[in-house]
Amino acid sequence: MTTSVVDAEPAARMDGAALRVVVVNGSPNQPSKTMGLVDVVLDMLGGMLPMETSRIDVYRLGPGFTGAIGRDDVTPEVEAALRLAEDADLLIAAAPVFRGTYPGMFKHFFDLVDQYALANKPVLLAATGGGDHHALVLEHALRPLFAFFQALTVPVAFFASAGDFDGTRLLNPRIYGRIEVGLADVADLLKARATSSPATPDA
């Protein structure tokens, strides 16, 4: 695949265009706190601009994904999931902390993503952990991964601890506040990136 930097340049915004949001979910649990956090992000984002959302659960992609060593090995369904992420207007990368960082399955997904497919693409980071001491997973693990991709990673990233949830529902109002601030920072940028038509002819 030969997606270039140019393909991800801002597309002209058409009237009524929606932001195509793709969530890459790195949690094995259903429901999960990680998606509880992302639900709040999507709710607030949906209040700011028109959008359409899809979600990729990396733990549900199956043997066609887990058995693939390279991009050529994946099954058509997994290829479609990878394309979906690569073609998003906004990618939300969300993962729980396992053994000190994002799960291997989550990384495996991005190991299969084309090296330049995320260049200049807005990426929002979200993570959950057992306690606040995991919060820097955003800055020390997730952000460098998307720096490799030369993605346009949103400055404010979102973290919530187990104690911020009642089950999988986020209750801590301070995290709601942070999400509001983080999204307001990039609302104009995201409006400009909204496109409901396919982003690139070769994608």
């Binding site: 187990a162 104690g163 911020d164 949830f165 009642d166 089950g167 209750l171 801590n172 109002p173 301070r174």
Partner: protein, 353 residues
């Protein structure tokens, strides 16, 4: 609001530090009731029994111990500390505490908690992954039972109730239901939304540990339309009232360190709390309620100032403190600490104690 001071116990069954001998469960249930009686006689306001389903605690059925305590006491309020509501049937909880309320002429209370131990879930056939949903649903049912009888109710985890007659009713108008909160922001928010009194637990840490908990609780209560000034908060903490500062620390340390080692594992093993760490936890800026009567007075007043608490419940027997020392500390708490704290708080609030 009058400041209440009390004690709580888990009915610890801990090996004697020098002989290694275990007290018998029979001895410990008698000692537990003796503590309630002593606390009542020295004028303390609350006696609590915690729920643990293990052989190193005799308190797996707090309601039964509280019923026995009701028979031996006259004035003191009797509370669970806590009832592990996630793995209980709220109908049964209500029936038991309403019965205690009748036996004690209106002195029963419930602190509903999630429990910091998880042994009760497999015992009663509950799935730990339903932890949060079970607590939310059971608390909802318990509050509805308290409000109305007969009751029609439907939930996810138990059979629906159709025009169910749940008896007996409370001796007086109601039975107070507090929510035990360990400090997670979500617990503070959900308790505030319900407008229920909050029992804060503090094991170790700075005295300011719960500042955010209390702020979130008050914010969410106000947002839900509850009268924030009428909401009660209590602090539940470990401690020991000694004759002097040094004696209090020397008596409490070896037992508390053992309790921590038995219950607070690191890498799957008990860690003996170093004396230096214990002494740091005993300083004015830390949460532990250990010291001379004057030190305890100062710290309870500090808690009052920080969080606006109107109740403090001390756990003094953690790690198997011998009964003799326990009873002496109860007496100091009731006669030397409580009257001063009540008077000082009343003065601060512009009332006469």
């Amino acid at each position: 609001m009058a400041f209440e001071i009390g004690i709580m116990t888990f009915g610890e069954i801990t090996a004697d530090l020098t002989t290694g001998a275990l007290p018998s469960p029979r001895q410990r249930v008698r000692e537990t009731i003796e503590q309630a009686k002593a606390a009542d006689e020295v004028g303390l306001d609350v006696f609590g029994v915690g729920e643990h389903h293990r052989s190193d605690f005799v308190g797996s059925a707090p309601a039964i111990l509280l019923a026995a305590a009701a028979e031996q006491t006259k004035r003191i309020r009797l509370t669970s500390s806590v009832t592990v509501l996630s793995s209980e049937d709220p109908v049964r909880v209500w029936e038991q505490f309403a019965t205690i309320d009748l036996l004690s002429a209106g002195r029963a209370e419930i602190i509903a908690g999630r429990g910091s131990y998880t042994e009760s879930f497999p015992l009663f056939g509950y799935d730990l992954s339903d932890y949060a949903d079970l607590f939310r649903e059971n608390l909802d049912l318990l509050l509805k039972i308290r409000e109305q009888n007969p009751l029609t109710w439907k939930g996810r985890f138990r059979a629906p109730l159709v025009d169910a007659d749940i008896a007996p009713r409370a001796d007086g108008a109601t039975i107070p239901v507090w929510v035990g909160v360990g400090g997670s922001p979500a617990s503070a928010v959900s308790t505030g939304r319900l407008g229920l009194p909050m029992a804060l637990a503090l094991l170790l840490g700075p005295i300011t540990f719960h500042e955010q908990t209390v702020a979130l609780y008050r914010e969410s209560a106000a947002k839900a339309g509850h009268d924030v000034d009428a909401l009660r908060i209590s602090i539940n903490a470990h401690g020991y009232v000694g004759r002097t500062s040094q004696e209090a620390r020397d008596v409490m340390y070896p037992y508390f360190a053992k309790g921590i080692a038995d219950n607070n594992h690191q890498r799957g093993k008990g860690l003996l709390l170093p004396r230096a760490a214990f002494d740091a936890q005993s300083s004015p800026g830390a949460g532990l309620l250990v010291g001379s009567p004057q030190e305890i007075i100062d710290k309870l007043l500090a808690y009052h100032e920080l969080y606006g608490v109107s109740r403090a419940i001390m756990q003094m027997g953690f790690g198997g403190l011998p009964q003799k020392e326990h009873l002496e500390a109860i007496e100091r708490l009731g006669t030397e600490v409580a009257p001063v704290v009540r008077r000082e708080v009343a003065a601060r609030e512009g009332r006469t104690a």
